[in-house]
C-alpha cells in the first residue's frame, strides 16, 4: 500500500508538508500543494484512516446497536441514522442484537474496542453489562427508542401513551370490549410503557384486562402468532388484539388467517409501528405510528453534540394513531397520516 511517505518522496517534500497539504492546513504554498496533489493522483494514494485515528483519537465513526435488523421499524431508524450521520461527516457501524443481550454485549464491546466516537443503542433489555459500562464510561452514548432506566445517557424516544389512549378510545367507540394485548419483553422500556399505557387507558373506560388477555411476546413474529393462537383457544376469545409492535402483528395475522377468520369482522387487530406494508395487508391495519426517521436524526444530532462536549437533554417525540380498517369501519376519517411531529417535548 502506498503511504504518505511515498507521496513525500515523489513530491520531494516532507511527510509533514504532505499531511498539511492534504488536511487543508493554511500555511502550505500553492506550489507544494499542487505537487502533493499530483503525486497523490499518480500514485493512487489513499490515506490510512487507521493510522490517522490512532494519532488523533477520533475515528469519525459512530456505532448503532439495534435490536433486530429484520424489523422494518429498525431498518427505517438505521437508515435515517446513517443519513444524518453522513451529513455530519460520520460513518456508521451497525450491530444487530437480534433481541439477545449476549449479542448486544458482543457488539457494544466490539464497537468500544474499535474506538468509535460515540454509540447509539437501543438496548434489548437491561441485562447487557457492557451497555451499562459503556453508558458509564468515557465514550458518549445516546439511547434511542429504548433505554435503561438509571443509566447515565440521554434518551431519544417516542412517547406512545397518548396514542395508545387514542387507540383505546377508537376501539371503545367501535364497540370493542374484549381487548387482548400482546406485549413486548417486560425487560424493555417500550414493552413496559405500552402495556402500562394500555392498561391505564382500558381502565379509564372501565374495560377489564383479564390475565388471559395478556400475551407475552418478544417483539418478533413467532411470539405474536403463538399468543394469538392462545387467545383464540380461550372459551371467550377477545374481539380485538393489540400487538405492540409490527412483527407481532404480522404473527397475529398469520394465526388469524390459519383459522380462516376474517379481520375485522371476526376479530379486530391493531398494531404499533407503522410500516408501508400495513397499507397492503388484508385489511389495512390500524396502528400507532412513530416519527421514526425523525427519531434517528435527533438521536444522531444529540450524539454529535455529546461528542463535541456540549450538554444534551433527552428528547421525547409524540407517536400518533393511524386509523385504517382492521378494527372495524373508521368512525371519523381524520387521517392525520404522517408528518405530524409537531411539538417535541424536552425533559
Amino acid at each position: 500500500m502506498v503511504s504518505i511517505k511515498d507521496v513525500a518522496g515523489a513530491s520531494g517534500l516532507s511527510v509533514a508538508t504532505v499531511s498539511r497539504a492534504l488536511n487543508g492546513h493554511p500555511s502550505v504554498s500553492d506550489g507544494a500543494r499542487e505537487r502533493v496533489l499530483a503525486a497523490v493522483e499518480s500514485l493512487g494514494y489513499r490515506p490510512n484512516v487507521v493510522a490517522r485515528s490512532l494519532r488523533t483519537d477520533r475515528t469519525g465513526t459512530i456505532g448503532l446497536v439495534i435490536s433486530d435488523v429484520l424489523n422494518p421499524y429498525f431498518t427505517e431508524l438505521a437508515r435515517s441514522v446513517e443519513e444524518e450521520a453522513r451529513a455530519l461527516g460520520y460513518s456508521v457501524i451497525i450491530g444487530n442484537a437480534d433481541e439477545r443481550s449476549d449479542l448486544e454485549d458482543h457488539h457494544v464491546r466490539g464497537l468500544l474496542e474499535r474506538r468509535i466516537d460515540g454509540l447509539l443503542v437501543s438496548p434489548a433489555d437491561g441485562r447487557s453489562p457492557m451497555t451499562l459500562e459503556a453508558a458509564a464510561g468515557p465514550t458518549p452514548v445516546v439511547f434511542v427508542d429504548r433505554w435503561i432506566p438509571g443509566a447515565d445517557a440521554p434518551v431519544v424516544r417516542a412517547d406512545g401513551r397518548r396514542a395508545i389512549r387514542d387507540l383505546v378510545d377508537h376501539l371503545h367507540a367501535l364497540g370493542r370490549r374484549r381487548i387482548a394485548v400482546i406485549t413486548g419483553p417486560a425487560a424493555t422500556t417500550t414493552g413496559r410503557e405500552r402495556i402500562d399505557a394500555f392498561r391505564e387507558a382500558l381502565s379509564a373506560h372501565g374495560i377489564p384486562l383479564p390475565e388471559d388477555y395478556i400475551g407475552r411476546g418478544d417483539f418478533q413474529a413467532e411470539s405474536g402468532r403463538l399468543a394469538t393462537e392462545r387467545f383464540l383457544d380461550l372459551p371467550e376469545p377477545p374481539d380485538t388484539v393489540f400487538a405492540t409492535d409490527n412483527l407481532m402483528a404480522l404473527g397475529a395475522l398469520d394465526a388469524i388467517a390459519a383459522r380462516g377468520l376474517r379481520v375485522p369482522d371476526d376479530i379486530g387487530l391493531a398494531a404499533f409501528d407503522d410500516i408501508p406494508w400495513f397499507t397492503h395487508t388484508d385489511p389495512p391495519i390500524t396502528t400507532i405510528a412513530q416519527p421514526t426517521a425523525e427519531l434517528g436524526r435527533v438521536a444522531v444530532r444529540a450524539l454529535a453534540a455529546l461528542i463535541a462536549g456540549e450538554p444534551v437533554a433527552s428528547t421525547v417525540l409524540p407517536a400518533h394513531l393511524v386509523v385504517r380498517r382492521s378494527c372495524g369501519e373508521a368512525a371519523t376519517p381524520p387521517q392525520t397520516d404522517r408528518a405530524a411531529t409537531g411539538g417535541a417535548a424536552r425533559e
Copy 2:
C-alpha cells in the same frame, strides 16, 4: 484511556509479555498470565483495535455495500452476512447506497480507507469508479447479487432464469396473455437478466411483449406505482403485471388499489423476491424466491477464502417460483382461507 502500558505497569511486566499473554502466545508463564488478567480486570483495560490494526494490517472487519436498506431482500441478505461473518470472527460495516452510484462510491471509498479486510458489494450500476477500482485493487472483493461484468472479482448470485420460465409457464397455464413487466435499471445485471429471461420465456410461448408493456423501474416502490399507472391507462391494459422486485410490486399494488381494481380478478400480479409480507397482502403474492440467506453465507465464505489467499470461484444458486393467489387460482388449492373479500365492495 487505559493502554497496554498501564497494564504492564500494574502487573510489573513488560508490554511485550502483556501482549503475548492477551493473545494466547504459548511461551507465557501461568503466573504472568494471571497477573496480566488481574491487571486487565482491575484497570478495565480494553485493547485498542485501531492500534492493533495499524500494526497487523488486519482490521477484522469486512464491508458490505448494498443498494437499499429499506428493501427487505437486502436486509435479509445483510443479516445473514453479519451472522456468518461473526461466526468467522469478522465484524461487518454496512453501507447503504440507496440505488445511487455516488453514494456507492462514497461508501466504497470510505471502507477502503478504513482498511477493511475485504469488501462485499452489490453494485447499484456499473457507474461507480471506486467499485471498479476496488475490484482491481489489492483488497479482496466479492460481488453479491449484482455484479459488474468484466470486473475481476468472484460473484455470488442467484439465477432467476429458470424460475422466470416457470412463472411464465404458470401464467400461460392460467390463460394470461397480455403480460406486462416492470424492469429494474438496465444498468444492473439483475435488471437485465430478469427482463431478458422474461422476454425469452414469453416468446417460447408465442406471447408478444409490446414496448408499451415494459415499464422501466428502479427497484424502488414509487417507480412500480408509476409504471403500473401507465399500464392501466393504456387502451388495452395488461391482464398481468410482473414486477421484478418486491418494492416495485408493492408500488404496483398501490396503483392497483388506488383504482379500486381487484387482484387477481381485474389484474394479476407477480413479483421477484419473496418476503414475509407477501403472505399477508390481499391477495398473497405469487413470486420468485431467492435463497437469500444462503447467498449471504456463501458470499462471506468466499470473501474469507479470498482474504486467506485461497482461489475462489463464482457461485450461482437457483431461485424458484412460489405460487400464491395473485395471478389466479393456485395449481393446488389446499386450504379454504379464501372467503375473505367475498362480495364486499372495496373503497
